[in-house]
Amino acid sequence: MQAEMNEWQQAGRIDVHNHVGGEGGIGRLGGELDRRRAEGLLARAEKLDIDFLCVSAPLTTDSPTPDEVRRVNDVVLQAMELSDRFLGFCFLNPGYAREALEEMERCIVDGGMVGVKLYHQYFVCDPVQAPMMERAAELQAPVLMHAGKVTDAATRARQPRLSNAVHFVKAGEMFPDTQLIQGHIGGGGDWEWNLRVLENCPNNVYIDTSGSVIDAGIVDRTVATLGVERVLFATDGILEEGVGKVLEADLDEVDRARILAGNARDILTRRNG
């Protein structure tokens, strides 16, 4: 842990939201870690000076079983063995409360992962999240969730339980000791609406900058809303977009460095257990 903390201290860029996958592809079940793809990700990240990548392997199905959850987290553990530049986030289905807590022990306490990744199986403020959120608070492990405020009918139909800022504000109040990261302000959807809601959010709600949306001003507006301390650099696998929009944001270099690595470092070094 101390050695890891020393490396994190030197990091210039920590991507808090990225993914690895098994041989079945990202977001799908299937096989061992796709090493070629993972190595390709590391090479691309190196070209953009990304020192560490927080990776998960979430499933997008309605109710992944505990066995399916274990299998995808095994892929993340394999990625961590491949390179210590991968920092693992364990995917959980809170609908299986006992198994989710067991998986946190396996992956975070014993396995060295640094956070929890949730997808759209439940809203972030659903009471079913409580046992996992409380344990995450005890471990000081951040909880990152796929999120967005989509306005097109097709995406709404595919993701009926996609959490947006309203859900995160509520979750921040329900789980005040848990560090919540709203995924990808640029992940598609009305980011302006999300930011307007977040104008009054609890201090334990953070946001990451990832996503393919690189609308001019998106990072500036995010910083203006939450303050620079709660904005985290990330790419969600879309690397040039992720790096480019932060480099172009109207920030002084101290604030840019905070977003690129400093804020992530603060969160990751709080972890205990």
Partner: protein, 260 residues
Amino acid sequence: MMSLTLPELFDINTTVGHWPFRKIPHQTPGALRQVLEKAGIRGAAVANTHGLFYKNCHDANLELAVWLAPHGEFFSGVATLNPLYAAWERDLRACREELGFCAMRLVPQYHGYELGCREAVAMAQAATELSLPLLVPHRVVDVRQRHGFDTERTIGIDEIGALCAAVPQARVIATEANFSGRALIDAEGGFRYPGLYLESSRVDLGSFPEAVAAERILFGTGAPFKHLQPAILKLEIAALESPSRERIGRRNGRELLGFS
């Protein structure tokens, strides 16, 4: 970071004018030119956003010509016309011969037609006879965040490909598209649509063989709607030889618009 010397860049995909659904910075030619030049971009093709919304969209072309006049050769005007509207034939000729525009934009998702319709094909043929390449946006903004009054429709490769097939001599530049090499290259390694080109901002350069990328891809940013740096980074770090990078970054766009 791997840091290569980029060529002076020419941006095939910029716009000016007011967008009604979100406050966009740098909407005027002067402001846009400042941010482009700061990023190392030395010229740009530019269309008027108002052309999406004016019923008589030639008014947007006339506006654009006035706005661009103080900027000399930095900006190359792109006409926006609707093949379903009256007098498009005269407007097209005026855009070329009187306003000096270098390309024409077709926006079927805003003007209510299919690219394969008789009128669109006729306009594409007429533009081609005037040596005007055609810009076709796959989308203007990400439809997942669209305003309720904005269109959800995107223009896919099948529809664009059908236009290319209907007007084989046309040079069609798909902008804001993320079509991959897998979709565009046939089993023999040839490009499926001989007249098709791609603006780079959403393209995965690595999905194309270098020879194809160097011939078919044109640097673009989508400014001022989008940040410029992602498109510049893409070109900077792509595994390309310098001549290919120079072609994509500058030459392809300028050649298609008729500049040496």
